[in-house]
Assembly symmetry: C2
Amino acid sequence: MHTENLYQQLAGHYLKAIDAGTLRSGDRMPSLRVMMERHGVSLSTALNACRQLEQSGHLEARPRSGYFVRSLRRSGLAPSTEPSQQLPDPAQYVGIHERVSAIIAQGQQRPVAVNLAGACGAPALYPSEALKQGVLRALRQRPDLFGHAGPSTPNGEPAFRAAMARQALVSRIKLSPDEIIVTHGCIEALNLALRAVTQPGDVVAVESPTFFGLLQILESLGLKALEIPCSPQTGISLEALELAAHTYRDIKALVVVPNLQNPLGSTMPDANKAALVAWCAARQIPLIEDDTYSALSDSEAPQAALKAWDQDGNVIHCASLHKILAPGMRLGWIAAGRWQARVEMLKYAQSRSTEVLGQIAVADYLDSGAFERHLRRLRASLRSQREQVAEAVAHYFPAGTRLNLPNGGLALWVEMPGQRSSEALFHAALKEGIRIAPGLMFSNSNRFNAYLRISCGMPYTRELEHALRRLAALVAALPEQQA
Amino acid sequence: MHTENLYQQLAGHYLKAIDAGTLRSGDRMPSLRVMMERHGVSLSTALNACRQLEQSGHLEARPRSGYFVRSLRRSGLAPSTEPSQQLPDPAQYVGIHERVSAIIAQGQQRPVAVNLAGACGAPALYPSEALKQGVLRALRQRPDLFGHAGPSTPNGEPAFRAAMARQALVSRIKLSPDEIIVTHGCIEALNLALRAVTQPGDVVAVESPTFFGLLQILESLGLKALEIPCSPQTGISLEALELAAHTYRDIKALVVVPNLQNPLGSTMPDANKAALVAWCAARQIPLIEDDTYSALSDSEAPQAALKAWDQDGNVIHCASLHKILAPGMRLGWIAAGRWQARVEMLKYAQSRSTEVLGQIAVADYLDSGAFERHLRRLRASLRSQREQVAEAVAHYFPAGTRLNLPNGGLALWVEMPGQRSSEALFHAALKEGIRIAPGLMFSNSNRFNAYLRISCGMPYTRELEHALRRLAALVAALPEQQA
Ligand SMILES: Cc1ncc(COP(=O)(O)O)c(C=O)c1O
Ligand SMILES: Cc1ncc(COP(=O)(O)O)c(C=O)c1O
C-alpha cells in the first residue's frame, strides 16, 4: 500500500494556494529550482508535483517558460439556480418507484460503454486487498464462524460497533457502541427509522431534489413525500420548511442528507444544522439523518453530523460504509435515539442480525489506521475526477449550463440551459452507450427535468472525456423549451 | 471431509430394520460373524456398526451374549394431545414481541451452561471448513468483489440462484433461477411476502403453535394473527381453517410451515398439502410457505413443498440455508409467484441486493456435491440426538408426559402432565443454568403453557443428559393445575 508521497504533499500545498486564490489563473508557478530550494526537495519531487497538477488540470506547461496556473473554464460556469419556494402537493405522490425502475431497467437493457449514472466510485478506488485480508483474518480467528447463528451481541459485533462509534466521533457524535445497531446498509437503516416513527399514509418531509432510493422507500411504506426546496449550496431551506409546517400540520418525520447531499452535493452550514435540529426538537418532528457521504468531504475540518447537536434523542442517525469503504458489502448502522428499542425490535423482526463476517473483517481494518489513509486517497482521486468532469462540462456543454462544484462526493448536478429535457437526453445518450441519471429520478414532481446527475466516480480517461463530449453534443441538439 | 463409511451404511441398514419393526425390542442382533458373512464386511466394520447403534441408544451389549435391540422407553410415551378446534380471537393479538423478547432477554441475563432453547444445530454440525474454502475461492476468482456494488443480476448472483433452483427440485418445485430473489434469511423473505399481500390491520392466519419469529413479524407489521389449530402429526387442521374462514371472512394471507413445523415437528401429508393449496387458490388467499426445515427430514423420499402443487402463482415460497448449511450466513430466498414484481420492488426498497460473497462461496459448495453428503451426516446426527433426548425425556420426566418424535428437525415439543406451567419451569431451569423455550412463546394465546420446546441440536453428552435429568426433576416439582 502506497502512503502519501512527498510530491503529493507538495502538489497539495500548491493546490491549496490555487484554491485560496493566492495563485491565480495565468500566474506563473515558481521554477523547479525555486521549488527545490524553498521546500528542500529533489528535482524529481518538484517535477512530479507539477506533473500531477498538470494532469489534474490545474497547471499547464508552456514550452521553455515553465508551468502556469490554467484558466479553469469551470470558473466561468454560473452556479445552479436557487429553487422556487413553491411546495409540491404530497398527495400527488404516487408512482415514483415505477418511474425510477423503468429508467433503471431501460438503462440495463442496452450495453453501456460509459456509465455516468451511478453514485459509486470505481472498484479500484476501494481497498479490496485489505478487505480480503480482513476476511481471511476473521476466518482464521473464528474458524467456525459460519456455524454460529448471529453475532456475539444482538445488534452486531462488538468490535465493529466500537469502531463505528469511534468513527462517529469524527462527525462530532458521541455514542456508546451499545447505541449502534448494525444494518444491511443505509437503506435498511432508513427503512427502520421510517417504520419506527410513521404509519402508512403519513406525510414525510424530504429534500427536493433527493436520492431516488429514499422516494422508493417512502412509496413502498405507503408514505407521502413532501418535497422541501433545497439550495444547491446550503441544502434544505429552513424557510421553506417553516412554510411547509404551516401548510401541512402533520409532518411525521423529516429526512435530510446534511453533508454532500445526493444529488445536489450541498453541505449545510453548521448554523443551519443547529437550527434544523432545534426546530425539529421544538416541534417533536423526528429528524432522520442520512450520513452516507460525509467522509467524502474535502474540507479541512470534517463535517459535523446533525446528530452532533441532538440533545433529546430526536435525531435518528443512519450511516453506511457503502460509498466510502466497500460497495460490495452491505454494512450500515443506525443510532435511533428515542426510538432505539423500537428500531431494535423492527430490525430483529425484519431481518435478524446482520451477518458477522464482514463486520469482523472491517473492524480490524478500521483499527489498523489504514482506513484513514484510504479515505485520503479516495478523496484526492474523487476531487481530481470531479474537477476534470466539471472542466469538461464547462468546455463542451452549451453556454448557459449551470453547475455547482461540490466540496466532495461522487457526482455533479448539472442544469442544462433552455429547459432541455433530461428524459430525452437519457434516451438519446443510451443509444450511444452512455448512461446518465436524469433529473426526474430525484423528485416526484417534474421540476428537475432540466437537470442531470453525472458520476465522478471513474478515472478521467480519454474514453470518459470522449463520452462527455458526445453528451454535450446531444444536449446542444435537444430542443429548448419555454420555461 | 469424511464421506459415509461402510460401517455407517451397515448401521443404517439395521436401523431401518428396527424402525420397520423387523427387529423388535429385546431381539438379538445377528452375531458379528453372521454379519460379516451376510454383508461381506470385515470384523471391524461389523463391530463399528454395532457400536454406533449402541451409542445412539438402539442396541445394548450384554456380556458374553452379543448385541440386543434395546427396549426404547420413548415408545411408552403417549403422543401429544390433538388440539381443540376453538379459535382464539385475532383481535386479542398484542404484545407478543414484548413477551418473547422479555423471555429471550431474561434467558441472556444469566450464565447458561446448557442451552435447550435454540432451534439450531451445534456449530460442529456445519461444514465450516468447506464454507471457508468457498469464501477463499470466491475472493480469488473476483479479487475486487468488495469494490463492486451489488450482484451481477439485481435479485442475486446467477450461480447461487441457479443452485437454489436445482435444490428446489428436490422439493418438487420447478423454478427458473429468474424467479428466485435472494434475501437476508427466511425472516426477510417472510417480511417481504407479508408486506406484498397485506396492509396494516389485516388478519393473517397462522399455525398454532407457531414459530415466535413469525408472530413478531406480524406484530411489527401491524397485522393480526388468527391462530389455526394444528395436529402434532399432520400439521395445520384443514377443518379448523375452513371454520376460521367462515368466522373471519377477510383472511388476507395464510402462513404455513408444511414440513417439520416449528415447534411441533409435524409434516403435512401430501394429500393435505394438495388440498390446502387448492383451498387457498379457490379463495384467492395468498399462501405463504416457510420451507426452512424440509431438508432435515429423515424420510426416504424428500418432502414436497406446497409450491409443488401451485398452479397459478398463489403460493409464495420462502426458504433459507440457515438451519441446513450455515447458521452464520444470512442467506435465504423467495419465489413470490404472482407477487414477484412487487416483492422485487419491496426487496430493493427495503435493503437492496443481498451481499455477494456468501452467495458465490456457497454456490460453489452446492455444485460440488459435498452438500448432499453434508446433509446426510447432519440428518443422521440430528436423528441420533433427537432419539436420545426423547429417550431421556421418557426416562426422567414424570409419568403422563407426552411427545411426538418428529421425522426430522432440530427440536422436540414436550407436553407436561397436569397442566404444569412452562413459564414457571423456564425460570426454575434458568436458575440452574438451563435454558428452555417455554410454550407461551409459540402462541399469542396462553394455551401452550403446559408445553416446552427442547433443542436436539447438540451432541448428546453427559452434561446434556444431566441437564435433562435436572429439568425432569424441576418439572416433577412444579405444582399441577386444574385443566
Ligand atoms: C443519500 C443516500 N443514502 C443511501 C444510499 C445507499 O446506501 P447503502 O448502500 O448503504 O444502503 C445512497 C446511495 O445510493 C445515497 O445516495
Ligand atoms: C419456521 C422458521 N422460519 C424461519 C426461521 C429463521 O430463518 P432465517 O434464519 O433464515 O431468517 C426459523 C428459525 O429460527 C424458523 O423456525
